[in-house]
Every structure is written in structure tokens, then in C-alpha cells.
């Protein structure tokens, strides 16, 4: 309904041009603003497993404060979509279902879902590859991890979903695991201490439908020193 032509002035910068420059990454790619152009499902209902979780989350909050459960419920929806369609995202009808369930205006659910980049408001690939590009990871080789994701996953860059629908690549800010940098978060799991080869191996096994155990790729126990503990190795009597 705009009275202005749609073209962008030279001085104006939309989210698209950021992507063109390959900077910015982030949630803009997995977040729809305004009217979604992609296919929104016409219907959403919690399945049996989700319903159990929904009841559990709602019960956590006192009567009249049910709206507090909006974030857990958005996760429930996203997981269920992942189970059912292989793409873990939150369609708009599902947000309406949540709003109705929690007795809150739908726009308040839209606000929460679009604020947090953990919620995908557009369909994504089977596996969500989230590359941490913040300074410690960058210094420890996140560029290699990114390159490996592109090469092995068949991805053009941040925001892209592979043709086979397996992967969506997103750049995220610090995941808080700098001591194990660089990190690749696949859906909810952290894969740590990666380099180009180990990332390729990881993606290849994901392609085969396997889910390697999360954690360090070089065998560290959590964030303990490489090769095992080197202090407090013996207990003196």
C-alpha cells in the first residue's frame, strides 16, 4: 500500500545488500520481516509429545502469568516442526496457536519470536549449522570451519540453504565456549576444537544421517588441557 516506488535509493541500505557483501550474517536470514514470501502452512496443532511438554511448561508459572511460557512453547513448536517436516522453524499459524493457548495477543508472540534469533521464522535445512565468528573463534580458525561448511555442505554462504535441503548456514555471535574455539553449533549441539578436516568429517556423517557425539573433535575432556590433565594428576597422601 506504499505510495512510494519500491526501488531503493543509492544511499539506502536494506538487509539484502548486507548479505550481498557477505557481512552481517546473523538472524536476518532465518527471520522473516513483514509478510513472509515463503510457504506458510495452513494449520498447526501440537502433537502428543509436544502437548506433554506444553502442559509441563505452562504449569511452571502461576495462574494468570501463563504468557511467561511463550519462549519454551516456541521451542516446542520449533522442535515439533523439526520432527515432523525435517525443518525446525516456527510458522506463523503456530505462533497464533501459542497466543491462543497462553491467552496473549498474537503480536506479542510475533515480537518474541522475531527478537530472538534462536527461533527460525522461515523454513531451514535439516541441520542448522551455526558458525561462531566472534574474535576468539576467528583467531582459532573459524574461517576454515566456514569454508568446510560451504565445501562439504554445498552452501554458498551465510543464509543459504543447501539444494538437498540438508543444511542451513548461519553466522552467530559468541556461543560462550571460547576455550574450545572454534565452535560449530549444529541445532542444539556444540562441536568444538574444529578445523577444516574435522568439520568436513562432521558434515559428511550428518549427511549419512549419523549424529556424532557432540563435544571436542580432538578428544579433550570438556575444556581440560589437550592430551589430558596436567595438574593435580596425583593425590598426595
Amino acid at each position: 500500500m506504499s505510495d512510494r516506488p519500491e526501488e531503493k535509493g543509492q544511499n539506502q541500505r536494506g538487509p539484502d545488500s548486507l548479505r550481498d557483501q557477505g557481512i552481517g550474517g546473523g538472524f536476518e536470514h532465518t527471520h522473516a520481516q513483514g509478510k513472509a514470501e515463503h510457504d506458510q502452512p495452513t494449520h498447526f496443532a501440537f502433537d502428543e509429545q509436544s502437548e506433554r511438554e506444553v502442559l509441563k511448561f505452562i504449569a511452571r508459572y502461576p495462574e494468570g502469568k501463563q504468557a511467561s511460557a511463550v519462549i519454551p512453547l516456541l521451542y516446542v513448536v520449533q522442535k515439533q516442526m523439526g520432527r515432523q517436516t525435517g525443518s525446525a522453524w516456527v510458522p506463523r499459524v503456530a505462533m497464533d496457536v501459542i497466543a491462543k493457548r497462553l491467552g496473549m495477543p498474537a503480536i506479542r508472540v510475533y515480537e518474541v519470536a522475531t527478537f530472538y534469533f534462536m527461533f527460525n521464522t522461515k523454513p531451514i535445512g535439516r541441520y542448522h549449522l551455526q558458525v561462531c565468528g566472534t574474535t576468539p573463534c576467528m583467531l582459532r580458525g573459524s574461517d576454515d570451519v566456514l569454508r568446510a561448511c560451504k565445501d562439504a555442505g554445498g552452501l554458498k554462504g551465510y543464509g543459504d540453504t543447501s539444494v538437498d535441503g540438508n543444511f542451513t548456514l548461519t553466522e552467530v555471535e559468541c556461543l560462550g565456549a571460547c576455550v574450545n574455539a572454534p565452535i560449530l553449533q549444529v541445532d542444539d549441539d556444540y562441536y568444538e576444537d574444529l578445523d577444516y578436516e574435522s568439520t568436513v568429517r562432521l558434515i559428511e556423517s550428518l549427511k549419512r544421517g549419523e549424529r556424532p557425539a557432540p563435544g571436542s573433535a580432538i578428544g579433550r575432556q570438556t575444556s581440560a588441557p589437550e592430551g589430558g590433565p596436567n595438574t593435580l594428576t596425583g593425590v598426595e597422601e
Binding site: 506504499s2 515480537e111 522475531t114
Partner: protein
Amino acid sequence: MAKVTVDGIEVEVPNGASALQACEAAGKEIPRFCYHERLSVAGNCRMCLVEVEKAPKPVASCAYPVMDGMKIFTDTQTVRNARRGVMEFLLINHPLDCPICDQGGECDLQDQAVAYGKSFSRYEEGKRAVKDKYVGPLIKTIMNRCIHCTRCVRFSQEVAGVPEMGATGRGEAMEIGTYVEKALTTELSGNLIDICPVGALTSRPYAFITRPWELSKIESVDVMDALGAPIRVDVRAGEVLRVLPRQNDEVNEEWLADRSRFAIDGLKRRRLDRPWVRRDGKLVAASWAEAFQAVAAGLQGKRIGAIAGDTCDAESLFALKQMLNALGSTSHDARQDGARIDASRPDFYLFNSGIAGIDDADALVIIGSNPRVESPVLNARIRRRWLAGGFRVGMIGPDAELTYAAERLGAGPQDIAAAASFLDGAERPMIILGRGALARQDGAAILKAAWDLAASTNALREDWHGFNLLHHFGGQVGALDVGFVPGEGGHDVEGMLGGGVDALWLFAADDFDVARIPAGTFIVYQGHHGDRAAARADVILPGAAYTEKDGTYANTEGRVQHGRLSTMPPGEAREDWRIIRAASQFLGVTLPFDTLDALRGEMAGNHPALARLNAGPVRGCTDSTGPAGEGALSAEPFAPAVTNYWQVDPISRASAVMAECAATYLAPQPAMAAE
């Protein structure tokens, strides 16, 4: 109370007041964008920064509560620098399109940039681009200009009660909108234009029309609903371009409903701009003299009756009534909707608690009314009272979305008496009876039942009058005040249409079944629009709409206000009282006034209530004897009185803007998925 010193001026403000309010009390102007005194405090624009003694950095005064002994400084170098910084950030993404922006000249950002803006920009990067949103046929959005003050979000959530706007995304990607493209489902959307401090939300019908400094601004009163909101009519070159609300805390606060604001393009369409006389079955253009001669000839020896419309001024109604009485007829009725109103005592037909009285009530029963479409601003006041808590609302009538929780107590008149238990224990119970509920066969009995409910719930006391009739238009109460109801031996609308008269004077009356006028009845139509009744007329006398005459109007609570002439009536049309005065001469019963002042003097002598300007209702009830109200209550449930908010009277029916609204809002809603 807390003692606060603002720039050396000592003021006392209530505990819990904000620093900004203290500054205002001291007469200091604080720039602001997000703060609005009728909305919740957001504190996100940061423009209202002030310095507070011992505070380490400037504080946002709108969200900073005062403390006793606080010292505030509003004009230090730090404050000026801080506000300049905020302004610089706000302007980073604000387009430099003031020359083509409709807000230009009345824009908060523009004004404050003069005070706090730099004359150059240090920002060389590109500006952010945001897609414009569709929020309905009345609001034009240019979202590049939005500064994210969230006033519109808070207004739609808090005042309008339709939480449909929000801020999606975050950081630089944050956008104000509805997320799902849709027209805001509120009758108050025009107020978004007023509260938007920049040009992001502007009026769609008014886009690119004029500049505010080119307008003549005339203070008048709205008649499009019975609230009687004070308005400012903005006029340029004899054309009404815009209607804005004025502020009256006892009536509209500062809001205005959409029909009152946007139906004005109807003032320019389908107008009757010259007299017409029917000759050989066809209406032909005539001069005033010919028209009056035709009226005199047509009324000769006939039993005459008059039906008045809903937006007529009291002066003209008074004059018309005087003329009819002089001609020996007492058949005059202003209740074209057939509402069985008892006009024998004002408190039978007034909103006696007063509009401001809603704030004091603690329980409400609404009977046969949907205040949301009958008076949206009044409904917003009920909602605000409801939000404050300690207020329960019951409703008898068709189910409706009122923007507050209302317990459904029944569907028809027979449930009225039982509502007493709902009001049990309320200190100041309130009953709102819709005028539409009286427009049926058992209307008089319904009026009595509602009055009896008030009496039985102790709502009729010397200090509180809980019986309220909610009218639909700004001229309806004035008509009852001048006694434009059948006198001794006169016929009402029903009687007149049933063959009680041979000649009918229709004064802007279009909202009754015109087809029921018996064949052979001589019709004089005096009005401003070629609407339903004009086509049936034998003589058409072109009159003035409410913006084109000086007139007295009483709102639903009986508050008397003057509307003022803003533009001249089109063509040969004239102010209505002049037409009646001239006609009276041709009919040989010359009315005894030649000027509006003389007419007002005469009217004040007969109806002193109409001379008390802008006085609210008399609080309290001195006589709890109810209306006569003979007849039995039927079992038929109440029907909605207003089904199409946007098109209800000749002006709004002529409006293209209102037609678009009706098409948008009354169209069957598509399923969610199809959007």
C-alpha cells in the same frame, strides 16, 4: 507531596510523579518523543534527559520518579549536549524528506531538531530502509521515518484495546507494524496520526493536500456520534480538509473516533446546492422564491408534520417547532429511528452519570448497546476504567467484542430485572441503555425496566445518578431538549407515516423507511445531502451541514456546545434557521427573530438548559420516579443497533473514505492462512 527544585524554582508534586512532570509543573519545557501523558511510560527515546543533583549521568526524566528535596537541572551544558547526542542518533536513520512529508510544520522531530539538531551530519553511511506497512485505509505509513517511540504500539494496546501493533525484530532490524498485514480493527485509528511524533503515521485521505500553516482553524463540535467531542475544523479555501480533536478531559480527553475524523469528504459529495421543486412529477431547479411559493402552496390547508434528523442544530429545531406550532400542528418528532424515549424529564434521556462519571463507577451493566461502535471514545473510557481494576461489566444484548471483559447477563429485555444481582454491592453502579434498545415496540417498557433496575440497585441517589441513555448522534439530545417530540394531540413518526398528516417537513431526516411515506403526501425536504429522502421530496430546500452553520448541540450527557461556521454552505444552500425563518414568512406565520442572537435568546428563554455552555451533567438524582413505560416486555432479544459503523448518516454515506472502510472492515475476513 514532594518538594522538588527545578532550575531553582521550587515546586510541589505528588509522590510518584516523574521528574518530567515536576519540570512541567515548574513551567520548564522538556522535549520528548515517546512520553505521552495518556499512555504508559516507555522511556526509550531518551530525549527528555535532565540532570539531577548527585546523579552520575543525565536521567530520562519521564521515567525517573521524584524524591523529596530533589534538585533537577533542565538547561545545563551537560543536558544540552546529551539531548544533542540523542537527536544526532535519532536523525541517523531518519530520512531528510521534510519537504514532502505531511507532518512537516507540525512535527515534533522537526521542531526539536531546530533546538537540538546540528546543521550538518557526521554520518556518511547509508540510511536504513524499512518497508512501508499496511495498517488500514485511514493510515498512511512511511516507516523510514519511524523513530521507534512505540507510542502507536502503546496506544493500540492500552487505549484502543486492540493489541495488534508491535515491534518485531531487534536492533537495526526492529520494525513497527502488525507483522501480519492487516487493517487495525479499531474505530480509533485516526488517533495514531495525532500521537505519532514524526511523519511515520499520517492521514491517508489527507496525504499531500496542504500544509498546516495554510489552514484556518475553527473550533467546533462533532456531531457524528453522541459524545460531542470538541473538534478543530481545518479549512482552506472554503473546503474542510481535516478535523482534529480538541482536548476536553470531561468529554473526549484528546481522542476522536474515525467517523468524526474521516467522514468529512462526504461534505463535498452529493450535496444539495440549490432549491428544487417537483413539477409534473419531475424535480426541476428553482429559485428560493419559487421554492418557498411551492412550499406555501403545497402546505396550504394540509395537516402538517415534521420529522427531524439526528445531526440538526437546536436553533433550527426550535425554529421549526415554533413554525409548526404557529401553523397549528404539534406533530413534530426527532426520533426518526422510532426510539420510544420519554422526553418528559431530562434525566430519562441523558447520560446522567456523565462521561467523566465513568471514572467513578464501580460496576456497569450495558443494555442493548455496543458502545464500541456507538461511541468509540466513550468505550475507550470504559476500557480505561476497567483496566484500573475494581470494575465489573455486564452486558445484556447481542454478543460484541468491547475491548474489555463483559459478562453476558442475557440477550433480551426480560433479563434486565435479573441484572440487579450483578450490581449487588456496587457503591456507584452504572447502567448504560443504548438508544437502539428503545427503537422497538416495547421500547417504553424497556426504558422503564432499565430505570427500575437503576432504582432497585440504589443507583438513583442524591450523590449519584446511575441511569444513562447512550444516544447515537450529536443532534439527538438537543432535539429532545427543545421538545421536538409530539405535543398535545400530535403524531409521532409512526403516526405521521401511518397517515396522520398530509404534508411532511423532513429536516435532514433520512434514516427511516422513506418508502413508508403514504402516496400523495406533500414532502418538503430541508437538508444538506441528496440521500434517501430527497428523491421523494416535492420541494427541496438546501440546508447546511454541521460544519457550515453556527449551531448549538447537546451531547449524550446534555453538555451544550457551540458548533461554528467553518465554511459557507455550497451554492445557494443556506443556514437552516434562516431557511425556516424565510419559509415562515411565506406561510404567513413570521417567526419573531431576524438574527441568530435573537433566536438564541428566544430559545434560552424557553429552554434555559441550552444556554448553559459546556456544563457537565448535574450530578445526582433528585426524583427517582420512573418513566410511565406502559406495555409489556417482549421476549425478542436485542439486535445490534449499529451494524456498519462507517456509514450511518447522510454525510458518512456520501464519504468515499468511509465507503472504503466499510468495504475493508465488513468484508468477510479471509482465513488466516490465506493472507
